[in-house]
Amino acid sequence: MKILVAISNVPDTTTKIQFTDGDTKFNAAGVTFVINPYDEWYALVRALELKEANLAEKVTLIHVGLADSEATIRKGLALGADDAVRIDAEGPDALFVADQIAAYAKANAYDLILVGKETINYNGSSVGAMISGVLDLPFISLANKLDLAGNKATVEQEVDGGTQIVECELPLVISCAKGMAEQRIPNMRGIMAARTKPLTVVASNGAAPLTSVKSFTLSAGRTAVKMISEDNMDELVQLLHTQAKVI
């Protein structure tokens, strides 16, 4: 049983977002990059838990990105992944990223591919389903719980108006959401071990992205808050009716 966990390299949640080159590129100067939280806290940690429970033999990280993302990959190795692969390419287009991951997964026969439910930079919730499409594998989205027994996965996932429990034989692709696992912090032993764990760099397949970002715009901030006295809730209701027009 081999698990492949796709991780993305994203600006830390608290980053002040800025753009450069005529608002066509994200300004990475001075920004701290981290493993995308959904990939780390849920997909990677659950994979590690499955390995610790002797339900998986190996956990491999895969990341599509340039050399400057290797610190992020090493953090994933420090958490406990066995090895890592970096596809040497940059691409904000989700299908390009999924194509690269799928090609590596196909060539190396993984039983389970885990991704976070979305990245906190592009918020597309797309890569997992795209990998499943390229590989023609089943896809279970928004998983809150994952258990393995032999060749079968039992997954609790979010559905409209509730949750459902599904079963599926491996191989399959799962996108992971809150509830799958608790956040871990790498310990010193893990950090030291990560320095020598294998990190393979693979060339991209050179596919052309089908979408491109033409420009970015910072979201307009709200106008200054209007404070209402706690003794004047009638005024607030009137403002919500006449000014905001929401009731």
Binding site: P37, A94, Q164, V166, V213, K214, L218
Partner: protein
């Protein structure tokens, strides 16, 4: 050539997010000189009529009880419809089904996807250009979709729903799913909708509360406020983590991202992760006893004071307002 819309029936009605998609597709059809075809499974006559009124000129009506549980099957079915209709643009809601199916279809058709669009597209030569939120709502990105077939999924509550008197041509459409190796078996379904309110992703009015409520036993005043408005209740992450409220009510970056017309936040300080999931709300009201709470900087209206005094007063004011409206 057509704009194909994946339309979903949920709990006996056409999903509001699907109606938004049909309206949106009608705008694209105007821009590109094409027609709108809706794909729907297991719709009755009234639902087909509603889909037509929203702007579909043709409806591919499928009767199939199998495919809704597995994105492999849904994707294969929509792919067959897209090919039958020579669809150059396919529209989904950016909801639970759309997030699983639209990307898979994108991979199958080699079709560029913009997931979570928040604006109508413009045509630029053979490309469509459309905006979506990025960096958890801190910015928008203008994407160009350059493939021959283009897929757009729409962030729910981003577009108005209008209905006209259009009548669609309904065509029975058969899908052949025999070659799809579907292996997902549903063992159990658990519903969250016991109180019958609008699900959070579709809700236009949301009343949410956080640790400032001091305990789950105090939620009655939040429910009363929500009830006076016809709103859906929500909560912050710590509240869900402490099991004061169910996890499906958790709104924020790690919970449900919402985009209501009105978001009332009671006793929530406004951590950046919470804001990332609610900052698409059109109007935000913050009630907090800490005048320095960061959420006030992201609010339209603020009230400083004790929630246990203010919330019942606001509930009464809304009831009085509604009584005068009738």
């Amino acid at each position: 050539m057509s704009v194909l819309v994946y339309t979903e029936i949920n709990k006996g009605r056409v999903k509001k997010a699907s109606l938004e998609c049909i309206n949106y597709a009608a705008k694209i059809a105007e821009l590109t000189g094409s027609t709108v075809t809706a794909f729907v499974n297991n719709a009755d006559a009234a639902q087909l009529e509603e889909i037509g009124k929203a702007g579909a000129t043709k409806i591919l009506s499928v009767k199939n009880d199998k495919f809704n549980a597995d994105s492999m099957l849904v994707s294969a079915a929509v792919e067959q419809a897209a090919k039958a209709e020579n669809a150059k643009v396919i529209v989904f809601a950016f909801d639970i089904v759309g997030k699983a199916v639209a990307p898979r279809l994108s991979a199958k058709l080699k079709a560029g996807l913009v997931a979570g669009a928040v604006d109508y597209p413009s045509v630029n030569g053979s490309s469509l250009e459309v905006k979506k939120n990025v960096f958890s709502g801190k910015a928008t990105a203008l994407y160009s979709i350059n493939s021959e077939v283009k897929i757009i999924s729409l962030l729910p509550n981003s577009f108005p729903v209008t209905a006209g008197d259009n009548k669609a041509t309904v065509v029975d459409f058969s899908v052949d799913l025999s070659s799809v190796n579907s292996r997902i078996v549903v063992k159990e379904v658990k519903s969250n909708d016991a109180n019958g309110t609008t699900p959070l992703p579709e809700a236009e009015l949301v009343v949410s509360a956080g640790r400032g409520m001091k305990g789950p036993e105090n939620w009655k005043i939040i429910e009363d406020l929500a009830g006076s408005l016809g709103a859906t209740t929500a909560c912050s992450r710590p509240v869900a983590d402490m099991h004061w409220r169910p996890h499906h009510e958790h709104v924020g970056q790690t919970g449900v991202a919402i985009r209501p017309n009105l978001y009332i936040a009671v006793g929530i300080s406004g951590a950046i992760q919470h804001l990332a999931g609610v900052n698409g709300s059109k109007t935000i009201v913050v009630i907090n006893n800490d005048k320095e709470a960061p959420f006030f900087k992201s609010a339209d209206y603020g009230v400083v004071g004790d929630a246990f005094t203010i919330v019942p007063k606001l509930t009464e004011a809304i009831k009085k307002f509604k009584a005068n409206q009738n």
